[in-house]
Amino acid sequence: MGETKEQFEPKIIGFLCNWCTGAASDLAGTTRSQYPPNVHPIRVMCSGTVDPVYMIKALMAGADSVMMGGCHPGDCHYVSGNYKARRRVAMLKQIFKSLGLDENRVYARWISASEGPEFAKYMNQVTEETRKQGPSALAGDWSV
């Protein structure tokens, strides 16, 4: 509210799977690979459990972008959860695109449990990109 673009600190909600990206976020912590506090991780058991409704809700309740983190394709702890998550993200992005909403505020990344520094690097990237995009119109609009 009333922030200028220079002061803008984006809020990012990350849905991280327990076995890969979530573990990578832990590893980033223990190996002291820093990532911005703008990212608010929510641990889920599998990226395949994330109904798009939660990603949309986050975007409408004030998040400037959302990020889905799962295991690399082929490595899902539950065999195929991340493949299904990938379809859902593809669909969500398409719907946003069709409606003229910003599909670039929906991120997804497959990061394995051993890729702590990779996780930190990616979170820096997402934060920077979101910062550049500025505050999300959806996040700021009370009337939707």
Binding site: M60, R87, A90, I95, W142, V144
Partner: protein, 376 residues
């Protein structure tokens, strides 16, 4: 290769010719019951009825331009608990049949012993507008006027931009597209089951008959032009509703009554997520949500509800327009859902209701697809 026969229409009485065919199905004990649209005695509606006594089929009016509910829902009620154990025919419109197929995939309809009779559909008026039509005209007049979905602006929007006004998965098709309905009606066997039934009631089928070929040619012509027409329509829709501001405006009149969900044939959940305890919040939770933006629109999560529905059933949207018709405030839901539906379906190469063997996109995946997502 199609097998078909034609019914000769006497004195231009289309409805009576079709009804006598439907009754024949009973006379030869081929079926025991039929779900068919009957003219309501009040004359103000045509409603689906489960008929066991064929006498009532004198009141059948399969081409009447009104669709009070999507009949896929009715077949769902009929077979959700137990499959029908008597041979039951259902006479439904193409969009109803496509929704029906989606519900079979969603395990809401049990196909056993059902015989699917599809009709070529010239469209329908809103239930509210039907009495006005019925006061002046009959379904025969409507069909005689020809099949020109895009040209009658009084038709429901879904009918005006309909992509499949002909049945895709029928056992038997009652065909009119490309034919002169005052002279002949096509009866086409579209499955082995349909062929067996038609043989049983003594209809002689010919292979690739003249009428069937004429109809196929007319459909091919329609397919060639409808894609372009829909493309233009969606481009226009995007300009009307695209972006947060316009989208907010479109849904500004939404009262979140959820009638659209109730009327939607493919929104099948027994208990919608949006009426679950997830959305029953303590006052403090509402207030803290309000605090984030300074104000919170109530009822809360109005746009979220629609966006979620798009995600959950967009791939199965058959464009019947039941949502739009159910909306008390005339929100152009059909436009929006067809725009979304057509674009997400294209993403997966999926056509809802095309084939019962096809897998719902949300339940399947390929190892090599959407590889841009989640990678560098």
């Amino acid at each position: 290769m199609t097998k078909s026969a034609t019914l000769q229409v006497k004195d231009g009485k289309i409805r009576e010719t079709v009804n006598s065919f439907l009754k024949d199905l009973f006379a030869k004990k081929t079926i025991d019951a039929m779900l068919a649209p009957l003219a309501h005695p009040a004359g103000t509606n045509v409603v689906q009825a489960l008929v066991t006594n064929p006498v009532y089929l004198d009141k059948a009016d399969v081409f009447a331009p009104v669709m009070p509910v999507n009949s896929a829902r009715l077949v769902q009620s009929l077979t959700r608990l137990t499959p029908v154990n008597r041979k039951t025919a259902v006479v439904i419109r193409p969009c109803e049949m496509r929704a029906f197929i989606e519900l079979v995939k969603l395990k809401q309809i049990q196909l056993d012993k059902l015989l699917l009779i599809g009709i070529d559909c010239a469209g329908a008026y809103a239930v509210n507008n039907y009495p006005k039509f019925a006061a002046e005209k009959k379904s025969d007049d409507f069909v005689k006027a020809g099949f020109k979905w895009a040209e009658d602006s009084a038709l429901r929007m879904g009918c005006q931009i309909c992509e499949y006004p002909y049945p895709l998965t029928a056992d038997i098709t009652i065909g009119l597209i490309g034919l002169d309905p005052t002279k002949q009606i096509l009866i086409q066997a579209d499955s082995a089951k349909g062929e067996e039934v038609l043989n049983k009631i003594g209809i002689t089928l010919e292979t690739d008959g003249e009428a069937a070929q004429k109809r196929q040619a007319a459909i091919a012509k329609f397919i060639a032009e409808v894609k372009e027409r829909r493309k233009k329509f969606f481009e226009k829709t995007k300009l009307e509703i695209g972006g947060v501001e316009k989208l907010s405006k479109v849904f500004s009149q939404c009262i979140k009554c959820q009638n659209c969900r109730q009327a939607c044939p493919v929104c099948y959940c027994r208990e919608c997520f949006f009426i679950s305890p997830t959305f029953e919040l303590e006052s403090e939770r509402y207030l803290s949500q309000a605090e984030k933006k300074g104000a919170l629109r109530m009822p809360a999560d109005t746009l979220l509800f629609h966006l979620t529905r798009m995600n959950h059933m967009g791939n199965s949207c058959v464009g019947c327009g039941a949502c739009e018709e159910a909306c008390p405030n005339d929100i152009p839901l059909l436009k929006i859902f067809q725009l979304i539906g057509s674009e997400t379906q294209a993403l997966f190469g999926y056509v809802p209701g095309r084939n019962v063997e096809e897998v719902l996109p949300a339940t399947a995946f390929k190892e090599k697809e959407f590889e841009r997502i989640g990678e560098k």
